[in-house]
């Protein structure tokens, strides 16, 4: 199972093979998450919404990089494409906000698949290069005066936060939070099925031993491109949600720094780990805020250090650490 870190002893599991403590933790987390709007004010809810949105984006990136072993240094671009898709469809074409999310996902999926086709035929290094280029170049495209009438050029597009449907007694922040939570939950479930199913196994096989995978008939190039497409889809949907949450899209919001933040997110959270998306999202939402108070260079410095140290300390990220602690506890308690 890709989700186990080495050196962990078998833990009591339910029939589906998931450790009991994990099921309990997930149930508690879900209940707490749903109840959040009751306990917190709108601003806090907004902050947590951003974390949830980032988690969806990180899920996408992790599918590609953690499980698939292919680095993308430009996922900020897909986040941006998703965000702009939503903004343009709502602002320019009057689409209902909820319909734009699948559109954002679809556009990014196609873009990701097409982009992945050439670059994924070779060493992952070339994909990293190509996605790096994408991440740096796209803000320029967003700024381009030629398509200003769609994208709003340098000034971007402002949006309104959607109201809760059916007259539910929720504020726009609370509604968007629950919507994001729902999307995230659906995303997790789908991702989990992908990872545990034959597609997931194929992707991991390609990551660990591409020649062997090819020799058993796996069409590595196709799988890699499809993985890229799905990964871009997730990030694009997250981008769309973030456009609604932040109520604004502009070219500078989706720079190379965003792409790097996403990479840091999956490294901190744990590569090849779905739960890692949450830990990573918390990290990349709050660290820049806190560090930014110290100095403008501090967030970058923290990110740099985290990446540099990641292969030595905590190679499995926070989620690996959590698993290790959780599996060690029952033994401790028995003593």
């Amino acid at each position: 199972m890709v989700e186990s870190a080495p050196g962990i002893h078998p833990t009591p599991t339910t029939r589906t093979g998931v450790p009991r403590w994990r099921t309990a933790a997930v149930v508690i987390a879900v209940v707490a998450a749903c109840a959040l709007p009751l306990a917190a004010d709108d601003y806090r809810v907004f902050q947590v919404t951003l974390v949830v949105i980032d988690a969806v984006a990180l899920l996408g990136l992790n599918l590609l990089t953690g499980y698939g072993g292919q680095i993308s240094l430009g996922h900020g671009a897909f986040f941006g494409i998703g965000a702009y898709t939503t903004a343009i469809l709502v602002h320019r074409f009057g689409f209902p906000y909820w319909a734009t999310l699948p559109c954002a996902g679809a556009v990014c999926m196609v873009a990701g698949f097409l982009f992945g086709l050439p670059a994924l035929r070779f060493d992952g290094l070339y994909l990293a290069l190509a996605t790096f280029a994408l991440g740096v170049v796209l803000p320029q495209v967003f700024k381009f005066r030629g398509i200003e009438s769609f994208t709003g050029g340098v000034e971007g597009i402002s949006l309104d936060k959607p109201h809760a449907p059916l007259g539910l007694p929720l504020s726009p922040d609370q509604w968007l939070y629950l919507l994001s939570l729902g999307v995230a939950a659906a995303g997790f479930l789908v991702a989990r099925n992908i990872v545990r199913g034959p597609t997931g196994r194929a992707i991991v096989a390609i990551r660990d031993s591409p020649i062997a995978a090819a020799s058993v008939g796996i069409d590595t190039a196709m799988y890699k491109s499809v993985t890229f497409g799905i990964s871009a889809l997730y990030t694009g949907v997250a981008g769309g949600l973030s456009a609604l949450a932040v109520q604004f899209v502009g070219p500078d919001s989706f720079s190379a720094f965003l792409s790097i933040s996403l990479l840091v997110g999956i490294v901190v959270g744990g590569l090849a780990s779905l739960s890692g998306a949450i830990y990573g999202a918390i990290f990349i939402q709050f660290v820049p805020n806190v560090a930014g108070d110290l100095s403008k260079a501090a967030p970058g410095a923290v990110y740099g250090l985290v990446l540099l140290l990641s292969i030595y300390a905590l190679p499995f990220g926070v989620s690996g650490l959590v698993k290790r602690i959780a599996s060690a506890l029952p033994r401790r308690l028995k003593k």
């Binding site: 290094l125 290069l129 280029a133 260079a297 967030p299 410095a301 292969i311």
Partner: protein, 290 residues
Amino acid sequence: MEEFLHQVVSGLANGGVYASVALALVMIYRATHLVNFAQGEMALCSTYLASALIEAGVPYWLAFSATVGISFAAGMLIERVIIRPAARAPVLSVVIVFIGLMVALNSLASWVFGTTIRTFPSPFPARPPFGNHYIGSHELGVVGVTLGMMLLLYTFFRHTSLGLAMRAVAQNQASSRLVGIRVGRMLALGWGLAAAVGAVAGMMVAPVVFLDPSMMGGVLLYAFAAALLGGIDSPGGAVVGGFVVGVLENVVGAYLIGTELKLTVALALIVGVLVLRPAGLFGSVAATRV
């Protein structure tokens, strides 16, 4: 016509900078099969160092030489301390380390020197040579410095035993050990050279685009495109690629898609080369890792 010529000429000058950074990338790729994503930020730090020295009153060429020397040493240090321990890790982890290095160096520069734009002096006179209208002194100087540097490197690699040893290590580490070459030292030397070349590139481009933390971002991208175009393992290709990319950037930007979108030329080249001819113009075929 004059306008076109000027675009070409300034494209060649930029191209010299791209060629230098691309050459540094190729040197490291040949030795380690890795792309040094941090190459641009290394050059950035070097340029800031030079700027600090110059502002402290050190004469230009002394500051230049000192910067090149210190960058050389720093490059060797980075190889030893950061890159070598990660050498056995999977490719994914190593790329993460490179990105970490890139971000860390950029933040270091921002933290130490601040983010306000600085000017950087050019060692070449302000008036164009012989009063001509096509090429400025700095542009001519950049091309000259670039070509001079290439010549030095070529002589070093072809005609010295140390250069021969480095070429050997880039091709076949096991056999290199068998003839007594200390492979680790050669890798460190390679990084030192790459850092030195990058420093020169940074100091050549800073007078034109001004010095701030984002200075090398675009340059690095063009250098990637140049290296891929020339062939990621071909030093000659990197040089040719650099000049081609420089001219292409200017010409396409001026006459086809507008200067705002110039950087998309780099992206298009990168994707285009990967799709159409992954080995580039002069490289050997880009093979998958076994």
